[in-house]
Amino acid sequence: MSAPHVRRAGVTGIGVVAPNGTSTDTFWKATQAGVSVLDRVTREGCEHLPMRVAGEVRSFEPAAAIEERLLVQTDRFSHFAMAAADLALQDARLGQSDLGGSPFAAGVVTAAGSGGGEFGQRELQRLWGKGSRFVGPYQSIAWFYAASTGQISIRRGFKGPCSVVAADEAGGLDALAHAARTVGRGTDVMVAGSTEAPLAPYSGVCQLGYEELSTAEDPVRAYRPFTADACGFVPAEGGAMLVVEEVGSARERGVPVRAVLAGHAATFTGASRWEESREGLVHAIRGALGEARCAPEEIDVVFADALGVPAADRAEALAIADVFGAHGRRVPVTAPKTGVGRGYCAAPVLDTAAAVFAMEHGLIPPTPNVFDICHDLDLVTVRARAAELRTVLVLSRGLMGSNSALVLRHGAGDASW
């Protein structure tokens, strides 16, 4: 990717609406401090479900962030997405006038796991409770997993390539990679990422079928990957949107490139076949390293998928050992998502946001609530670890069998490769 004519994609803006913060400042402060905000599920209609613990976004006021006209026609997952996109664009100092007069210079790509379940449930209850004439017309668009991409595109007037990745949880990383490739093909700016809103009754019931879901009652013990107490994962809502921009375009605008999306690869090894995910992750990691022209020893930290299911944790630890060498150099591994939960497609996007902050601050955030690692991993726990971070690997797996790996390089001095 070092040829001069190659258009490279960097991160120039980050917008976060997460359980541990609805601004990048609060998100990073909580993340680097290892604060866990996992708590009992309190969203209406969910209290009785055996899904006891989750990462809820409690400090988000949709009406303060989104026009009422759009609130009535969209689900909570799109509220998060529009708000996060606004924050990311503001962070990137990117307004309509910065697109060189062409709305086709900017596009949107999101990943979605469940779409607008809460909105859809309300309208379907009207359908069966009162009749078809009582279903609002916005049901036709609000539940759809493509809704957030469409609403961001319309609201911000972005007419460039727009798409949605439906590829399981790992789709969050695939969406960022898709954005980078779209930039490579000629679009200057992509708003890319994922937000999810799975904490609603219908969506909650859908998740009860996942054998990997934690049903533990105690927020401190509910999500403990890589330990002997691992009992599944805890879901979360919210997410992040990034501004992925052509490096030259960012330089022209005088905006810092905070990280370069250097390499990505994805594989598929089948639903809940965790033992096989080892090989899938290895291939994804090697593919991402290859695209980034990055040697394994250049990776300074791994943001793990950390599912919290013993077989899956073992597969991930072994995959990391396969690539980086079991007894050779020990690469630090972290999983800050144990403090906020897994927001499905949004989880690896939040990890990517945290990875950019980690590189900027020279600090590996810890893995909250996790002690006594039972795998051969240098997992960062309890408190953040200072380290010079030039290159980061983010991993993600989905319950349906997708595996994905993304390599990010620190933005500063990126001309050298």
Binding site: E67, E68, R69, L70, Q73, R133, P137, S140
Partner: protein, 85 residues
């Protein structure tokens, strides 16, 4: 419920069905502005028509959701309601 629909009721429907807040007096002054100028798209108008049909228990003509302005809309809807009464 086959009374005429007032400008107040239309303003209220615009808020509940389409999330657009406009005072009845303002709506009256902008009678001939397009619904799009108020921020109401075709699905929003469709929602207003559906809600009116449910409230008044009578179907509206297909043209109702194609009306461009509040004046056109109220004229057509009220003509329909008067005819049905």
């Amino acid at each position: 419920m086959s009374d005429r629909i007032t400008v107040e009721e239309l303003a209220e429907l615009m808020k509940t069905a389409a999330g657009v807040t406009v005072a009845p007096q303002d709506l009256e002054q902008r009678y001939d502005s397009g619904f799009d100028a108020f921020g109401i798209d075709s699905l929003g108008l469709l929602g207003i028509v559906g809600e009116l049909e449910n409230r008044h228990g009578t179907p509206m003509p297909p043209d109702a959701e194609r009306c461009k302005t509040p004046r056109q809309f109220l004229d057509l809807v009220n003509t329909t309601l008067m005819a049905g009464a």
